[in-house]
Symmetry: C2
Subunit: 218 residues, 2 copies
């Protein structure tokens, strides 16, 4: 399995919402920042290897084997992200690029020992679940902060957008995984909301609130 193949499988996995739906060629091309014709070529190779079900013009979906491979890559990516943050003091907005490379290192022993070294984490620094050796992971109840209503409270458990600018914005305002958030008001007009966290009151736009996952209390 080449790095490129692994990247395609991972991309298809995410675009298909964990292997549920089938995915369009153009969607893959956009996600991978490549051209649709290149995607078509790769889909043929992946189909040849039994990793995807592909009929031309009909979109593509992962086979069981393809999904398992994708999950292995995702497991590695997220474990490395934990390592970078926990052991090497990277901040959560600096880890993704490096993990994109590390996820392709081939060694069962390495990833098992890394997992143990990190004390078998369940979630990565962005709150995403880490699949175990068999590709299984814990699902958590999570809702977008934007779906809460005044009076509701919750704990921040993940981000939907994990781009550096967004993560740095959160750092700046002291919003981190584990933060207790209570919604004090919501503006009908632009869906912005007033929230209270750690003693301070903040006014956040809908764009922010709709990229933060919370575990609602109750």
């Amino acid at each position: 399995m080449t790095q490129s193949e692994e990247n395609y499988l991972k991309g298809i996995y995410h675009l298909s919402h964990a292997g549920q739906q089938s995915v369009a060629t153009n969607a893959i091309a956009e996600h991978m920042e490549t051209k649709p014709s290149s995607v078509t070529d790769m889909l043929k190779r992946l189909a040849e290897k039994g990793l995807v079900d592909y009929q031309r013009y009909k979109g593509v979906s992962l086979t069981e084997s393809g999904a398992q491979s994708a999950l292995k890559v995702i497991r590695k990516h997220r474990l490395w992200e934990v390592f970078l943050v926990e052991k090497l003091d990277f901040s959560w907005d600096e880890v993704h690029e490096v993990a994109e490379q590390l996820e392709h290192i081939k060694s069962e022993q390495l990833i098992d020992r890394l997992d143990a070294h990190l004390d078998y984490p369940d979630f990565d620094p962005h709150g995403d679940p880490i699949p175990d050796k068999d590709g299984k992971f814990k699902a958590r109840e999570k809702r977008l902060l934007s779906s809460l209503r005044p009076g509701d409270t919750g704990v921040c458990i993940g981000v939907k957008d994990s781009s550096s600018p967004f993560l740095r914005f959160l750092d700046k305002y002291g919003i981190a995984l584990g933060s207790e958030i209570s919604v004090t008001a919501k503006e009908e007009f632009d869906d912005s909301m007033a929230i209270r966290l750690g003693g301070q009151d903040l006014q956040i736009s809908h764009q922010i609130a709709s990229n933060l996952f919370v575990k609602p209390n109750r």
Copy 2:
């Protein structure tokens, strides 16, 4: 710089004894387990990029820039080996293959922080020196155990052969980096020697003694 280019530079560096001598095409091919024609192709590409001095039929040598690049890869390889042994409890015969992959990860930040995390080690698990960011490393007085004479003593500080079978042999007989070794006798006939280490007496062949580096005591 591609992975393959990095591997060639590293190979040439080692074959040229740290950039001293020039290296033959066939020697590179054998070392890299590839064909001489493939080597010729690559040498042209490396010469094009100013990483080697190459004239056809005349062998090849690293430029200053090529040597620096090789040293960066070697630095990464050896730091990762230390990490695997110190932090993930790999044994010294298990690290090489994985380090061969990890050495190609591109991130200054990663390798600097790894270096700090490991407390700036000077030597890798096989006793080889780790170049610093500028490619400089500490040279140590080291001699082959086979060059010592009865009555001489020394500390084991490295291995010449770092293959798994040899390293496991050393483990089996309790020979490790840091071991105090004294030569009690030497057989003229086959150059085997009797040594004493950690209370026990051992008889070792010339093949063993000529693959162990020691720092002689006076």
